[in-house]
Structure formats: C-alpha cells, structure tokens
C-alpha cells in the first residue's frame, strides 16, 4: 500500500466544551476522490477547515506527504500544493474574472515580491490563469466582475481559482450547494475532469454526486467517523441509514 497523501491522527477541535471534530483518524490515498458526508452539524466543514489551516487543531496531527502540517498556516499549505474551494463564494468581487484567476495563478511565482516588471509580462502566469478559466468554461466571461456573475458562474470561478494554484490535493467544501439540477450536472462533470490525476477530499450533501464520483466515502456523525468504505458499502450500511434518520440515501 502506497503511503497516503494525507493522514490525520486523532484530529480534534474543541469550541469550549463542544468537540466539533473528535479524534478523527483518516488516511487519504493519492489519486482518489474521497467524500466526507454526514448530517448537519457533523463536523464536516470544521474538518475541512482544519485541513486547510484556517482552524487550529486542539489535539491530534495532520501529515501531508509525511510532513507534519498540523500548525501550518493557510498560505503555507497552499504553497505545499493543497488547494481549497469555499462553500460560499470567496472571490474578489470588485475584480474581473480574469484578475481573480490571475491572482490565483500569480501565487505560484516563487515570490510575488517583484516590483519592477509589469505583471502582464509574466506570461506563464497569464497562461495558467487562462487555462484554469478555460477548463471551467469561463473564458467568455473574462472581463465580467466577479461580484456580478451568476451563482453558478461564481462556483465555477471558485474552482478556476483553485485550479490556477495547481494543487495536488483539492479540498472542496460543498461545491454543489445551492445549484439547480442542470448546473449541478455541469459542475459534477467539471469536477470529474479536474479530479483526474489529483487527489480530492470532497464535503458534500448532494448524494447523487457523491456516489457517482467518489472512490471512498467517509461518514462523520457528531465529529466522529461512523463508517468508511466504498460508495456501495456506505450506501448499504444500516448504521449510516440510521444516522441520517431514515433519509433516502440510495
């Protein structure tokens, strides 16, 4: 078994007396799509925030390629190749799509402390940004202001910005939230495309999507791992059904 790309050991995060994430130990294999699901309040978003460095763990460890990154800041994690997309659009509303993608792509320069050459001259950055927008179907919307895009387009831009940072590990926080059926299908297709050759940790509520694109599914309840396995295993698990209070999963 190859060493997992990402590993958490007894990862815990407390808010006062409440343990939102409670002793979660998981291994995420490289090159696979891993879904994390669970009822509301299960700790999924907290878990993702712990992985992306936006929250500090109370206890436990996170290892990325064997490196201890438990105390790493979001910018350090990003530079290690961990990309993140957000549940609510976290863009640059007054900047154009092209500029948003640019900023994301520019982050891959060894350093943006470059003061004298105009930014446009860094062709590699422009190319990377353009490619990311292209993959996400936003090439036609380059000049549009991010704040004025439609909801679905903003989701696409979220993903484009993440892609432009050329991550090896993608952390996706409910990328399908609030999307209509057709838009959701489009984004699922995009995600399938994007997942090729990369590792994905996906937090989602949309079960159709989860079961269609995931290789493993982890179910979190009350901050703890209830079940983990292939989509079929999870789908057929009685314990999982019960946790969702009789919700139709399959």
């Amino acid at each position: 078994m190859p060493e997992p790309l990402l590993l958490t050991e007894a990862l815990t995060r407390r808010f006062g007396a409440l343990a939102a994430v409670d002793g979660v130990s998981l291994a995420f294999e490289e090159g696979r799509v891993h879904a994390v699901i669970g009822p509301n309040g299960a700790g999924k978003s907290t878990f993702l925030n712990l992985l992306s460095g936006e929250l500090r763990a109370t206890r436990g460890q996170v290892r990325f390629r064997g490196l201890d990154v438990t105390r790493a800041t979001p910018d350090e994690l990003s530079r290690l190749g961990i990309g993140r997309s957000y549940q609510t659009a976290n863009l640059f509303p007054e900047l154009s799509c092209a500029d948003c993608a640019w900023l994301a792509a520019q982050s891959r320069l060894p350093s943006s402390m470059r003061f004298f050459r105009p930014a446009e001259r860094y062709a590699e950055v422009g190319d990377r940004a353009a490619r990311a927008l292209d993959v996400c179907g936003l090439s036609g919307r380059r000049p549009a202001l991010a704040g004025q895009l439609s909801y679905g387009e903003q989701r696409q831009l979220e993903i484009a910005m993440m892609l432009a940072t050329e991550p090896t590990l993608l952390l996706l926080d409910e990328p399908l939230a609030g999307l209509g059926h057709d838009e959701a299908l489009r984004v699922v297709a995009l995600l399938t495309e994007v997942a090729r050759g990369r590792t994905v940790i996906l937090v989602e509520h949309d079960m159709d999507a989860v079961f269609s694109i995931s290789d493993t599914v982890t179910v979190l309840v009350d901050g703890r791992v209830l079940e983990r396995g292939s989509p079929d295993q999870v789908r057929n698990s009685a314990a999982v059904r019960e946790a969702y209070l009789g919700e139709e999963i399959a």
């Binding site: 979001p74 990003s78 530079r79 863009l91 943006s112 470059r114 003061f115 930014a119």
Partner: protein
C-alpha cells in the same frame, strides 16, 4: 491618455516654477509638493492595500529630526551623507512600528498606529535635549538656495510617482490589491499577506521620510507638531479629498489643501473649522474624492 498628458503638463509647470525666482511661490509650492509625496505614499497604504495608518507623520518627522541630529551633532551637511542616513532612520522605524502594528488588524491597527505616532510625539515634545516643544533649527541645510531645494523636492515628487506607479503595475502591486479586496482569500491562495503589508508599510514610511528630509531642508526647522496625529489626519484628508486608490488623486488633494490652508488662514481666524467642514462634507457627499469626479481608472 488625456490624464497622462495633463499630469505631464502639471509636472512640467511645477518644474518651471523653479526658474521663476519668486520667493513666495518657491516656498509655498515646495511645501505643497512635499504634501503630495506624503499623500501618494499614504495612498499606497490606504487606497491600494487597505491599511488606514495614522503613523505616517511619525516617519515624516523622524527623518526631519534625524537631519537636525546628524547636522547639529555630527556636523554632517553633505546631502550624499545625510540623505541615506535619514532615509534609513525612517525605513527602520517603519519596519519596527509596522511589524508591531500589523499584528493587529482592522480598527486595532488604526488605533495602534495612532498610539505609536503619539509616543514619538511625546518623546520629542517632552525632551529638552531633543528640542522640546519649540523644535530645533538645522544649523546648516543640505542645500543652500531655495531654488535648489525646490528642484530637489520636484525631482523627488516625480521619482516617487514613477516608482509607486511602477510598483503598483508589478506583481507586488496586484498582490496588494488582492489583499485589499479579500485578504483571507489571498492567504488561502498561498500569499503570506502580512509580509506584503509590512513591505508596503516600509515603502510608504521611507517615502514619508524623504518628504520629511526635504521639509527640513526647505525650512531649516523641525518641530514636534510634524509628528502628531493631527498631521497624520491631515495627510489622510488629502488622500480622501483627492480620491484614494488613484495615486494622482491624493497628490491633487494635497495641492488643494495647501491652497485652502494658506488662503483660509487669511480669511478667518477659525479656518480650522473651515477644514473641518470641508472634511465632513467630503466624507458625506464626495467619498470618492476629486478623482471620483473625473472618473479615472484604478491603476495609476
């Protein structure tokens, strides 16, 4: 394009005054241009990075006092020696104060910069050894003639503008813009944002130091009032008045304020109230400043 031409014309006109030999205009416009340097450098922080700093006058005053110090105590007069020293002093102070202040965010940051600027004010105001509230004379200025000082100021203004415009078009400038709009997102994209803000703070502080050095050169006199929060507030006023985030706007704001201050003093004893009314009016009715009227673009 027309804006470029207008700016160029303005710069040339200002430069031409150097040949006029008119004592009043050399002094007045020299002072005004120093205000322009202060305004533009503060705009880097306020308009482009989103940092409202009240410490700007501290670096202005520090460099001025540094000149008084090295000239009066060490006998150094040659600008080739004194200028780098004063510039370094301002930049070092900006590094320290910036590093401490940037540990705070939002309004905390504003309050902390205010506290540091007042600390420096009291330091100079309360120490007889440093001149006290009366200030100090610079026994011998780096340049003798008023015209020469004017030319130096003019050159500094032009260079400062070109430098800032360049920086803002470079990747660094783009990063600052991203930080202003959504700093948290910039961090998750991989930018160590605090470092970028610190660099901006130091660049701005260094330029404020240049302005302070030139001010001491023009007047041959330094005093604590240059360091206090009133002064910082006035520089902020010029930024708002001219239009933040445009670079040339704040420079215009500084020129306008210089005229208002000068003629206001003649019209009424309570000209401070005039400035107050102006500030309040601009905040309430013209938030984008003069540049907003012109509807110029964002990037200089």
């Amino acid at each position: 394009m027309t804006r470029r031409i207008l700016l160029l014309a303005g710069a040339l006109a200002l430069g031409a005054v150097a040949f006029s030999g008119d004592r009043f205009w050399l002094q007045f416009l020299g002072k005004a241009m120093i205000g322009c340097i202060l305004a533009m450098s503060l705009d880097l922080l306020v308009g482009f990075t989103g940092l409202v700093s009240l410490a700007h006058s501290a670096f202005f005053g520090l460099a001025a006092y540094a000149l008084a110090g090295v000239t009066n105590r060490l006998g150094l007069v040659n600008p080739l020696l004194t200028f780098p020293v004063c510039l370094l002093a301002a930049a070092a102070a900006a590094l320290i104060i910036g590093w401490l202040s940037l540990r705070a965010t939002g309004v905390y940051f504003i309050m902390v910069t205010l506290a540091f600027t007042q600390m420096l004010f009291y330091l100079f105001n309360d120490s007889p050894a440093l001149g006290g509230s009366d200030g100090l004379y610079v026994v011998e200025r780096p340049v003798d003639s008023r015209a020469a000082a004017y030319v130096a100021i003019w050159a500094a203004l032009v260079l400062a503008y070109l430098l800032l415009a360049r920086i803002l078009r470079a990747p660094y400038g783009r990063a600052l813009e991203g930080i202003r709009v959504n700093e948290q997102r910039m961090r998750s994209l991989g930018y160590p944002t605090r470092r970028y803000k610190l660099v901006a703070f130091v660049i701005a502080g260094a330029l404020a130091g240049v302005a302070g050095y030139l001010d001491a050169t023009l007047y041959g006199f330094v005093n604590p009032a240059q360091l206090g929060w009133r002064q910082s507030g006035l520089i902020l006023v010029t930024v708002l008045l001219g239009g933040k985030g445009t670079l040339y706007g704040p420079a215009l704001g500084a020129l306008l304020l210089a005229f208002i201050e000068h003629y206001g003093e003649r019209v009424t004893e309570h000209w401070n109230a005039l400035i107050a009314a102006l500030v309040i009016a601009v905040v309430l009715f013209l938030p984008r400043g003069l540049a907003g009227l012109v509807q110029g673009g964002r990037r200089a």
